[in-house]
Amino acid sequence: MEEKAPETKPEGKQPTEKKPEVGPRFLVSSSPHMHGGQAVGDIMRLVIYALVPVTLFSVFVFGLAAVRVIVISVVSAVIFELLWQRIAKRRVAVRDCSAVLTGLLLALNLPATSPWWMILVGTFFAIVIAKQIYGGLGYNPFNPALVGRVVLLISFPVQMTARWVTPSKWGMSAVTTATPLSRMRESLLSQGRIDLHLSQREWIDLLIGNRAGCLGEVSVVLLVLGGIFLIAKKVISWHTPASYILTVWALTGIFHLADPTRYANPSFHVITGGLFIGALFMATDYVTSPITPRGMLIFGFGCGVITVVIRLFGAYPEGVSFAILLMNATTPLIDRYTKPAVFGAVKKKAAA
């Protein structure tokens, strides 16, 4: 990096005038001439900090397998970004940490048993196909980490959904098991009713994350902690997560009231699966979600409806990823119809 001394005068134009009366020349640019100081990288880093507790917890419960998945995912995401920006002769912007965040989010959405090559496929799709091909950060219509995850979910269903391990303190005894949601679905399919009687102990296990699932989705408590941190730091607003989670809770509640033998308790729906990581960390992705508070409420509601429909009537036990991706597609439309009312707007009878 060469430090360039600011030019004091344009070259080749030193007139014969006496000493320049005007003194030194100064930088000219449009106002404002101050800045709050926050950069894109600062925001990305805040989100990464918010994910630290969840990440550490995943290492605690899934052991070295989790470390393996996280390292492969983060490192490969950064390498893909770097390579693409070099090949495409774009400005290398790895320092904004967005690739680190995408890699981390993808890792947290994978099971601890993921094979290494599958993770690479995932980060390739996330970084190169979903993000860089569209022009990089800011231009991608779909959440890159979710694109990576969904590609893997569709392409490698066995590795993605059938090889869960129960947390077992470091040893990784690899007791193959099922996630709470898929267990429920199986009993519904085989017996025609759900078999769900949870003790208080089991509820607490679900909340703190002592259950099978993707690395980052298991601990609701720590996810909420991270979410509160982000809201307090004004990185995200409460609108999307609140609207999303409440919609899921209300809709599954209605079904539960109608037929408790087929439809589970709404609180169970809310705290299982990837709802909290999705609502707090994926649906709030800046680039792919609406920009106005009203738009965020609509977006969260849409995500909630689709999630519930997939969970209750679809082929997959879990629908958070699909729901957010589908709603990503509606973001431009939502933005268009939730244009904020200008200060002092004169009320008209109907919006044009």
């Binding site: 009366e21 100064f26 449009s30 904020p340 002092g344």
Partner: protein, 441 residues
């Protein structure tokens, strides 16, 4: 929303402590004064002096031919040395008269004569204000008499005296309120009399407790006067935001404060009105805050109109070698100067000198749609969408998204993590939209 607040806004570092305790100092007359003929928004007044003329202090040198215009007066007595183009603080070269003071500083006939203001009627006051060349001294330079002449059917019932001074660094209004409270109050009372307004609210941001205290005690026995301590929130001093803070009335989009039944006058303008009406002294000087880390000795200067920025710098002990930016006005809305060649106008509230290491570099990185600008925009626009349209030159879309309501306060760019030059885009878009409207007739 609470009293004294509005939606949106930002909290920039105020840096007022550089100059807010420094009493106003009168600057000695410089060797020459460069007086621009155009110092108001609206129609430019017509010059009526030529090279070689001798002028007296307060003599009209450019006449207002249109209603939305304000005459310009000679700031001192002397000779018109030349008439030429000079760099104006707004960034372009403008015609100006160069006046060489004769050192006498002698008033023209009819000026500087005290008059009993008690018997003056609204029209007489208005005429004196108009003749004194008064414009909005907060920086907008809209002719004051025009604001005092609302159409018959617009009823104005509140006068807001704007002492918010929300721009970082600037302390000129602050000092004026502390040192010249009585004159400001007298001037405001004159404005109130013109419009038959019974309620006068002096609004000051809470970070100026001494000004609040002074204005409160001096206006205590005045009927209808009150002092409102408003939240420290940029842009509190923007007309529409201030009106909302105090009255909860919203100026309709495209409208004027009078559409909300309010008149807003800057404290400096009130002071100037008192001078013009009471003493027949036209607007030929003003308080200018010269400040920033680049200047040796920040000061609040009572400077003649036409004193060059170079003169101001000299009076403040010079600027440091690493001064990278010179701003006419405050750092949020002011205009960057390429040299010290511009001169003080009726709208020059301050000159701010920033060091190179303090200057943010705005770049056109892509918008990541974080929405911080949407939260910060006090006009409730969507700067993110607007800037993307402007980049694509989709100016029709910027119009549809109300770019014309943008007040260019800079809150959006201030918070943008991608450091996009948002205000720059909106200025361009506004110009294009207006151009198109003009073409369409």
């Amino acid at each position: 929303m609470a009293y004294g607040a509005f939606a949106g806004g930002v909290h920039p570092a105020y840096n007022k402590e550089l100059a807010d305790r420094r009493a106003i100092e009168e600057m000695p007359l410089p060797e020459q004064l460069v007086v621009y003929f155009t110092q108001n928004l609206g129609a430019p007044p017509e010059p009526i002096v030529k090279k070689g003329d001798t002028v007296r202090k307060g003599q009209v040198i450019a006449e207002a031919k249109a209603f939305v215009s304000a005459p310009v007066h000679a700031p001192t007595s002397g000779t018109v040395k030349s008439i030429d183009m000079f760099p104006h603080p707004v960034g372009t070269d403008m015609p100006a008269a160069v006046i060489e003071p004769d050192g006498e500083d002698a008033w023209a006939e009819g000026c500087n004569v005290e008059r009993n203001t008690d018997s003056l009627g609204p029209d007489e006051i208005k005429k004196l204000v108009q003749g004194g060349g008064l414009v909005g001294m907060g920086g907008a330079t809209f002719p004051t008499h025009v604001k005092l002449s609302p159409p018959e059917h617009k009823k104005i019932n509140i006068l807001i005296v704007n002492g918010a001074e929300c721009e970082p660094f600037l302390t000129a209004d602050h000092r004026l309120m502390v040192e010249r409270a009585d004159e400001i109050i007298e001037g405001a009372a004159l404005f109130a009399r013109v419009l038959g307004v019974e309620r006068v609210v002096v609004s000051i941001e809470k970070n100026k407790p001494d000004a609040i205290e002074t204005m409160r005690s001096r206006s205590a026995d005045r009927k209808g006067f009150s002092v409102a301590a408003v939240n420290v929130l940029y842009p509190q001093g923007a007309e529409k935001q201030l009106i909302y803070s105090i009255t909860h009335r919203k100026v309709p989009t495209g409208g004027l404060p009078m559409d909300a039944g309010v008149l807003v006058q800057n404290v400096g303008t009130c002071f100037a009105a008192y001078e013009a009406v009471r003493f027949g002294r036209p607007l030929i000087q003003r308080v200018v805050t010269v400040t920033g880390s680049g200047v040796a000795e920040p000061k609040n200067i009572l400077a003649r109109i036409g004193a060059s920025f170079e003169d101001l710098v000299r009076f403040c002990g010079g600027i440091s070698g690493d001064t990278g930016k010179v701003i006419s006005g405050g750092p949020m809305m002011g205009v960057a100067q390429y040299s010290l060649g511009a001169s003080v106008t009726k709208g020059t509230s301050g000159v701010v000198f920033l060091r190179r290491d303090e200057i943010p570099q705005y770049v056109n990185d892509p918008c990541i749609r974080c929405g911080k600008c949407v939260t910060a925009c006090p006009m409730r626009l969507n700067p993110s969408a607007l800037s993307i349209f402007a980049e694509r030159m989709a100016f029709d879309k910027t119009d549809e998204f109300n770019v014309l309501d943008c007040i260019e306060c800079g809150c959006c760019a201030y918070v943008c993590p991608s450091r996009r030059p948002l205000v720059h885009h909106f200025r361009r878009a506004k110009a294009e939209v207006r151009k198109k409207a003009k073409r369409a007739g």
